[in-house]
């Protein structure tokens, strides 16, 4: 189309009819998003998770939620597979990388989360659940009083959330609600990472719905949009199908071009 245009050079020879800079930028961006979805969905889920984990810690604290997302929403064997893939890809273990590069109060929690190999059966210990709910409540309430140590740094909190099985934690949350006026996620509004941990472990739908929502808003930032790519590409690993379907209409509305097509295509593909 452009080649056919004979009037390439305008009046002045130095000024040719260049393409609008912003047009180039937006095309690039659109195809980058497209490429990201394609590449991510073609990868083996373990490799995908390993690469997402690496990117997340490299980019720093605002991206730690991706680590929480992966560590908590994958099954024990999937998470293990991701750790193995990480060994192969990066010649290190994810645990050592996180332990040496995450510096703040999130370190203990994040390392423990990726090291988890939870029991997956239905068996639950009622008595232990009660005392653990109490311990969590204490840790959270103390945090509200004494601002020096966050709840996510408390050893009790960490070992309960990172070693107990998901069915057991569901019971712990129920017990928590009985002894506290609110649910545990309500009480954790101040500590976002810990809240996301708790959500991803037992009610991932809440977390994913929120991420989709944020990504598809008018004023969504770059990172939020990237989350869209990530969620759609990884949806086969996690039970997202219901949620993704709900957002299809919004995707059709807000997203444009090739990116939209590929997102919808991946979603449709998975419904077969």
């Amino acid at each position: 189309m452009r080649k056919g245009c004979s009037k390439f050079f305008l009046e002045d020879e130095r000024q040719f009819e260049r393409w609008n800079d912003s047009a180039i930028k937006s095309l690039k961006a659109e195809f980058k998003l497209f490429k990201d979805v394609v590449v991510l969905s073609l990868m083996h889920p373990w490799e995908r998770d390993a690469r997402l984990l690496k990117k997340a810690w490299k980019k720093g604290p605002p991206h730690y939620n991706v680590i929480v997302e992966i560590a908590c929403t994958r099954s024990s064997d999937q998470l293990l597979g991701a750790r193995k893939a990480y060994h192969s890809l990066f010649d290190r273990s994810i645990e050592e990388d996180l332990a040496s590069h995450v510096k703040g109060s999130e370190r203990k929690l994040l390392v423990a989360l990726v090291s988890a190999y939870r029991y997956e059966g239905p068996k639950v210990k009622e008595d232990a659940a009660k005392s653990e709910a109490k311990a969590l409540l204490n840790a959270i309430k103390n945090n509200n009083g004494d601002h020096k140590k966050k709840a996510m740094e408390e050893d009790e909190v960490i070992w309960i959330l990172t070693t107990r099985s998901k069915p057991h934690l569901k019971v712990v949350y129920e017990q928590y609600k009985k002894i506290s006026a609110k649910t545990i996620t309500e009480d954790l509004e101040v500590e976002l990472l810990l809240k996301e941990t708790v959500e991803c472990l037992c009610t991932p739908q809440t977390y994913f719905t929120r991420v989709f929502d944020t990504a598809l808003r008018e004023d969504a930032k770059e990172d939020a949009k990237k989350a869209l790519t990530r969620l759609v590409a990884t949806q086969e690993d996690v039970d997202l199908k219901g949620i993704a379907a709900k957002f299809e209409d919004k995707i059709k509305e807000r997203v444009k071009g090739a990116y939209k097509d590929v997102l919808l295509g991946v979603l449709a593909d998975d419904r077969k």
Binding site: S93, E95, E96, A99, S100, K108, A112, W159, T163
Partner: protein, 464 residues
């Protein structure tokens, strides 16, 4: 079934994962003697199967074919419909090809004209040859090295599994038990053989061999036999579980299992723990240990270390410095100390500790001896030993177990059982070096009866 380039790439990835699984995650490693397009089959669901393992090297188990998600599938019959289909189509003429590199492997893809339903991947012959020579030699070497460190002796011609089961059944029936026969059989079988025997025994006689053991025998001999007969992963799970219970609790055993097993062995132990106890080992350790001990043990049992030999010397320097600072400040249970010991690969830790000695003059364990009564420090020193020179650690455990007034049978049983197939020979050498007495002689002196007999068999003792 159309096979575009991307689909072929995915097939290739699966093949490579499967090969990697066979080399690294399967025990003993399987070397496929003939990876070629003829042996890569696609079924109607687009699942990839690798066949042709009938005559593979270094395989002590049955030939298997690996399904694309890495799970062991089963044996395809040689006259499998798919094989034939592919063979027939093997004669098409290539119409286009391109070379493609992935992770240092070079593949040439050829696309064929003709009916849609076929796939053709050809590994360039140079790569094939290279693969065979490289991997078969390497794996043979590794297997040989492993066998040289173990003390277990298996006869060159092993009786069939059904024979073994029959003999064992005889040993249990009649008046009393024929311990000698049991020792002769089980004491000379490796883990896979023992597993097979247990399985076949259960199928033939309707009860678990180990239950039979439980009924007939008692005391130290029984425990040794029971532990020995178990699959190594189950054994570790059992030992770990005991170590979390109140009356038999032992931080040392938990640390020992976490640090002296390979990353995959520890993982298998954790899987066996799930299956046997319906909970995770991590939960139990978290629940039953406290304070500094929990701070150290929980990350240790949760670890899944990188197993490569690569070492980063700059990192070794930084971490040696860090360790030295913390130790000088007596911050023994500091987060950083624990994270280095619990997450770094064994090779990296080794390098770090070597640097520590070179730079600061003392072996790290010497610096950790500040307070001989401190139990946490003792555990920390043992952790270091287990990670970098386990044979010295085990020699000490054996020495203390034997020299005690009234032997510590628990420790003796545990070490002999868990290391007979791994490195008991090296441990025994170390024992002799330190105590001027062969381990077998010390065992003879300190134990008696069938317990002594089985210990000696497992320790590779040959009757003169």
């Amino acid at each position: 079934m159309k096979l575009g380039w991307i689909k072929r790439i995915n097939v290739m990835k699966v093949v490579l994962y499967a090969l990697s699984y066979m080399h690294h995650d399967f025990s003993p490693p399987i070397v496929h003697p003939d990876i070629s397009s003829k042996n890569i089959l696609l079924d109607l669901d687009n699942e990839v199967h690798i066949s042709g393992l009938w005559h593979c090297q270094a395989s002590k188990t049955h030939p298997t074919s690996i399904k694309s998600n890495g799970a062991v599938y089963g044996v395809p019959k040689e006259d499998n419909f798919l094989t034939r289909t592919l063979w027939e189509l093997d004669r098409e003429v290539a119409v286009s090809s391109r070379t493609f590199t992935w992770q240092n492997w070079e593949f040439t893809w050829t696309r064929h004209s003709g009916p849609d339903r076929h796939v053709y991947l050809s590994l360039s012959s140079a790569v094939q040859n290279c693969y065979h020579s490289l991997f078969s030699l390497q794996i043979q070497k590794e297997i040989k090295e492993e066998e040289e460190m173990a003390t277990l002796t298996v006869p060159t011609t092993v009786p069939s599994v059904s024979e073994d089961c029959e003999q064992l059944r005889k040993a249990f029936s009649g008046w009393g038990t024929n311990e000698g026969l049991i020792i002769d059989i089980l004491g000379h079988r490796n883990a896979e053989q023992r597993n097979l025997i247990r399985k076949t025994y259960a199928e033939t006689y309707g009860e678990d061999l180990l239950k039979a053991l439980d009924k007939e025998l008692s005391n130290d001999f029984e425990r040794l036999l029971l532990l020995w007969a178990l699959d190594p992963a189950e054994r570790d799970a059992l030992l770990a579980n005991e170590a979390t219970k109140r009356w038999t609790s032992s931080n040392q055993v938990l640390m020992e299992i976490a640090c002296t097993r390979s990353a995959n062995q520890l993982l298998h132990a954790r899987q066996a723990y799930h299956a046997r106890y319906k909970k995770s080992l991590e939960e139990d350790v978290a629940h039953h240990t406290t304070g500094d001990f929990r701070k150290l043990l929980l990350p240790l049992v949760s670890s899944y270390r990188y197993e490569g030999e690569e070492v980063n010397m700059t990192l070794a320097k930084t971490e040696a410095k860090l360790l030295h600072e913390k130790i000088s400040d007596k911050a023994y249970s500091d987060d950083d100390v624990i994270r280095v010991l619990a997450t770094r690969s064994k090779a990296q830790i080794n390098a770090t500790l070597n640097h520590y000695k070179n730079e600061y003059g003392n072996d790290i364990n010497k610096d950790l001896k500040a307070d001989p009564k401190d139990e946490f420090l003792a555990l920390l020193r043992s952790t270091v030993k287990c990670l970098v020179y386990p044979e010295k650690y085990f020699e000490k455990v054996l020495r203390l177990a034997i020299n005690r007034r009234g032997t510590d049978e628990g420790a003796l049983t545990r070490v002999v059982c868990t290391r007979a197939e791994v490195d008991l020979k090296i441990i025994a050498d170390e024992y002799q070096r330190r105590n001027s007495v062969p381990l077998t002689r010390a065992i003879v002196k300190d134990t008696h009866g069938d317990y002594e007999k089985l210990l000696l068999v497992l320790a590779g003792h040959v009757e003169n």
